[in-house]
């Protein structure tokens, strides 16, 4: 009888703890930190785009932004080359726009928090440059060997359901 009471009290404590814990967790927004500040997960949840990854990559706004990002990457300069990139947005009418990220470093880049979503618009993709890999064997001027991306970190960091694009110095554009 005593054991039953103990069990009952233990179960009651667990139940109270669960009830107290769940609202606090459910109410807390998912927040991730970047160098530029916190990014709310709700800000980067993908819009259900009707466009294919290829259509997004070939959109004139994206191509122009990628060309500019590549030029800004200084890929031909061994001391100043660095990664550049940006978010790709799609509005309710299917129009694509781009918000560039702050410049990265030689082999990585941290995105800025996305701009507040436009009505009906959301992030549908991201792009960045890979200025280190040299054709044909991947070795740079110093003989250091680089592998073509996207890296595992690139794949893991991308919001699921969005399109990732990397451009390397051989002119390859890889979707992931």
């Amino acid at each position: 009888m005593k054991a039953s009471w103990k069990s009952f009290i233990a179960l009651l404590c667990v139940l109270i703890a669960c009830i107290a814990w769940s609202p606090a967790v459910l109410a807390a927004p998912a927040v991730a930190e970047t160098a530029a500040g916190p990014v709310l997960a709700s800000q980067i949840s993908p819009l259900a785009s009707n466009k294919t990854p290829e259509q997004i990559a070939n959109d004139p706004a994206v191509k122009a932004a990628m060309d500019a990002a590549w030029a800004d990457s200084n890929a031909d300069n061994a001391t100043t080359r660095h990664e550049e990139g940006g978010w790709i947005y799609e509005d309710a009418d299917g129009n694509i726009s781009v918000q560039r990220w702050p410049a990265g470093n030689r082999s990585s880049i941290d995105p800025c928090p996305p701009a507040p979503p436009q009505p009906g618009g959301q992030v549908v993709g991201e792009f960045h440059t890979h200025p280190n890999w040299h054709p044909p064997d991947g070795k740079d001027e110093a003989g250091k060997e680089w592998k073509q991306g996207p890296s595992e970190a690139d794949k893991n960091a991308k919001t699921p359901g969005t399109t990732g694009i990397v451009q390397d110095r051989s002119g390859n554009v890889t979707l992931y």
């Binding site: 990664e83 680089w146 890296s151 595992e152 991308k158």
Partner: protein, 100 residues
Amino acid sequence: MKKRKHNVWLLVGAAAMALMLTFAGCGSTGITREQAITIATQAVADDGVMSLDGRDTESVEEATYWHIYFPYSSPLTRGGEPHVWVDKTSGNVTNIYYTE
């Protein structure tokens, strides 16, 4: 007579155990995971291509090598990492490459 047989089996058992331990010793690695990580960390520092600040350390044991790599700790960073292969017997770095 029985006691002698018993002793013989004891000797056979001891010899078998010694053989097993010998062969098990041959199969073990000369370089431990911790040693391989130390070697890889130094190799990356000597290379001077990437800083290891803000990175985790991962290791995979392969047949003859330790594969050590250093992914970013931040799940939001898009970026590359050094990959280092350390020979399990000699401790030599046999390959380093970088992703971006």
